[in-house]
């Protein structure tokens, strides 16, 4: 459509180098034009001054010749001056505008009109009057087309001019005729009332200056073009290497990443673009890590799912093995009992192995979220309140009003609290009190959860086994309490918390759970 639209497709290095070239040409053009004009003016000024001085010199030199009216000598002298320093012609005119002497023979005795610039420099055009102020006298004329500068110098009347006897020669009479006299026959050649007798004119050529200036101009144009070209080329290549290349690398990098190749790094650069390439590489690395973590967790998820399926399927036949071996070991003879007990123990071991595997895979798959422990505890209490074996049990809820959230899996915590409540209820078949309290300790960022009951307490052997290891395979006896406590401890440790039990048979149990609060 428009030109700017088309320009958008030109790459940045070309655009900037063209722009720079144009700026250089424009600046240098303006600068050279201004300086050329100044140079020309200065040269003409110098010529004017020089020729003015020359006029004065000529006047002084020729004054004597003029007084003595040596015409040939004057003409010869004028011819001698011509040709030096661009002087084309030298003329001497009288005040009436008649060319009396000239280096050019054809000019002599030509009359110039009043409108001629030689006259208008000093005189007003109309009535032959002098220009009001001497300041405005113009003693030069410039002819730009012919490359000429004309300079005039008035020859003022002097005492010697109208008193000199020199003018009394025969030639004088012809001059007298041209002069308006008041009829008095005197020896004076010129009238004493006259201020200006005539003027000397020098015609100087400025051709040489013009050609010099022309030469300088073309040189300047050439230099400007060369500088602009060099600057453009330099800019073009430096932008290509400093910007184009890293950008190209980045573009290629993003394309590669889009295709899924995350292993190849782009070469590191410097300055801002270097920072960009560095952060690009960093991003790529993080993507790679995230990707591998994702793959890893997907693997774990499928393993977990498989383990879950297997555990579920195994549970049915294993129930048969356990129950039937128990039955056999009870009814059989002494020699067989040992064998059946081996089957029973090993079946229980399989059960523990499967449960452990599931706990581990579950741990990897668990989602931890900001959780309010009080809410979870209240939920667990609301569930057990429906159970018939909690009808004689009073649950005293002493939860701190506002506890900070912790990063946890609420489902698992729920399982812990339910287990603890059920264990307590089992130790208080005749009723009792369960105290539950939460307390946030700000100093060490810990949330304490305390469960205490007034039950029978937990047998010493279970406590010992529990503290010895977290492997519940050791608790292969049929006590559900032991297994439940092991599961609870396991879950709390999954949350990087601590689980401790204080229990004396007959005087109740107190369980302290410490969980870390999110920073």
């Amino acid at each position: 459509m428009s030109i700017p639209d088309k320009l958008k497709h030109i790459n940045i290095s070309t655009r900037i180098s063209i722009l720079l070239g144009l700026v250089i040409i424009l600046t240098m053009g303006v600068f050279s034009t201004l300086s050329l004009i100044k140079q020309e003016n200065d040269s003409i000024e110098i010529i004017k001054n020089n020729s003015n001085q020359l006029c004065a010199t000529i006047e002084k030199i020729l004054r004597f010749s003029m007084l003595e009216n040596r015409r040939n000598e004057i003409t010869k002298a004028l011819k001698d001056i011509v040709g030096k320093e661009g002087i084309r012609t030298v003329r001497i005119l009288n005040h009436e505008g008649l060319i009396k002497y000239s280096s050019k023979q054809s000019d002599i005795n030509q009359q110039i009109s009043q409108s001629n610039p030689r006259c208008t420099g000093c005189h007003d055009n109309k009535d032959n009057m002098l220009v009001s102020s001497t300041k405005n006298f113009v003693n030069y004329r410039i002819d730009k087309q012919k490359n000429l500068v004309y300079n005039f110098l008035p020859i003022y009347n002097a005492h010697s001019c109208y008193t000199s006897a020199c003018h009394s020669s025969g030639e004088m009479s012809s001059s007298i005729n041209l002069k308006p006299t008041n009829g008095l026959q005197t020896f004076h050649y010129h009238d004493s009332s006259q201020t200006v007798l005539g003027f000397i004119e020098i015609e100087v050529s400025t051709e040489k200056i013009a050609s010099n200036l022309g030469h300088t101009r073309s040189q300047l144009i050439l230099i400007t073009i060369i500088i602009a070209l060099l600057a453009s080329i330099l800019t073009y290549f430096s932008i290509r290497t400093l910007v184009g290349k890293p950008v190209k690398n980045l573009v290629e990098g993003t394309r590669r990443v889009a295709k899924g190749n995350l292993k190849q790094e782009i070469p590191p650069g410097k300055a801002e673009l270097g920072e960009l390439s560095h952060s690009f590489n960093l991003m790529q690395k993080q993507l790679l890590t995230t990707q591998s973590q994702l793959i890893e967790s997907e693997k774990l998820a499928s393993i977990g799912k498989l383990a879950d399926e297997i555990a579920y399927e195994i549970s049915n036949p294993l129930t048969g093995i356990i129950v039937f071996s128990e039955n056999l070991s009870k009814d059989s003879g002494e020699d067989k009992i040992k064998d059946y007990k081996v089957i029973h123990t090993e079946a229980l071991r399989i059960r523990e192995i499967v449960r452990n595997i599931l706990t581990i895979t579950k741990r990897e798959l668990l989602e931890f979220k900001d959780t309010n422990v009080n809410e979870v505890i209240n939920h667990s209490i609301s569930i057990v309140n429906k159970l018939s074996n909690f009808q004689n049990i009073q649950i005293v809820n002493r939860l701190q009003k506002s506890v900070p959230n912790i990063s946890a899996n609420s489902g698992l915590l729920d399982q812990v609290f339910l287990n603890l409540l059920l264990i307590s209820s089992e130790s208080m078949s005749n009723g009792g009190i369960i105290n539950i309290s939460t307390n946030y300790v700000k100093d060490n960022g810990e949330l304490d959860i305390i469960f205490s009951d007034t039950g029978k307490g937990i047998p010493e052997e279970i406590l010992q086994k529990l503290s010895a290891s977290n492997n519940s395979a050791g608790l292969s006896n049929t006590e559900r309490t032991g297994i439940s406590l092991a599961v609870c401890k396991n879950i709390i440790e999954m949350h990087k918390g601590s689980f401790s039990i204080e229990s004396k048979p007959g005087s109740g149990t107190s369980i302290l759970i410490k969980l870390l609060v999110n920073s």
């Binding site: 977990g304 879950d308 555990a311 579920y312 399927e313 195994i314 549970s315 049915n316 036949p317 294993l318 129930t319 048969g320 093995i321 356990i322 129950v323 039937f324 128990e326 039955n327 009870k330 079946a347 229980l348 059960r351 499967v354 449960r355 599931l358 579950k362 939920h379 667990s380 569930i383 057990v384 429906k386 159970l387 018939s388 074996n389 009808q391 004689n392 489902g411 729920d414 399982q415 339910l418 089992e426 078949s429 005749n430 049929t478 559900r480």
Partner: protein
């Protein structure tokens, strides 16, 4: 003094009744796996104190039919039943007769959720594979609680 003695005496009487009387408890076991039904039979029949009359059913539909036609003291119900699932069967039984205690059976897995089962009205959840003692303890707990409340 008197006040303290009354519940104590009642408790002793209760224990005596539990221990001495040969009780008959009717149990319905619903599970699609034959081995689980056999194991339940084997485990509970080995009890010397209590006489359990056990009826078994391999499908949810048959189980629900049996409940409508007879009176049971306890239902053992598998959570992962094909067709109508365990939770759905639990809800239907509770709708029909809320007072029947139900113990759910489930494999140790992420699928089994204790709170899910309890909130739908079941008394307890027994994880498979279970031992004879575990099954007996769960069942006897139900009737202990039943007695003390009744």
């Amino acid at each position: 003094m008197n006040r303290n003695r009354v519940p104590e005496l009642l408790y002793l009487l209760n224990s005596w009744l539990t221990l001495s009387m040969q009780r008959q408890i009717k149990i319905l076991a619903i599970d699609s796996k034959e081995i689980i039904l056999k194991s339940i039979r084997k485990a509970l029949n080995s009890d010397e104190k209590t006489e359990y009359i056990i009826t078994t059913s391999g499908t949810s539909i048959e189980g629900l039919k049996l409940i409508r036609n007879d009176i049971y003291d306890l239902v053992l119900l598998d959570l992962a039943m094909p067709g109508i699932n365990g939770i759905e069967v639990l809800k239907r039984i509770k709708k029909f007769n809320y007072d029947i205690p139900i113990v759910m059976l489930s494999g140790y897995s992420s699928k089994s959720s204790y709170s899910d089962v309890i909130s739908n009205g079941a008394e307890n959840l027994l994880l498979k594979p279970f031992t004879t003692a575990e099954l007996k303890s769960v069942v006897s707990n139900i009737f202990k609680a039943d007695k003390s409340t009744g």
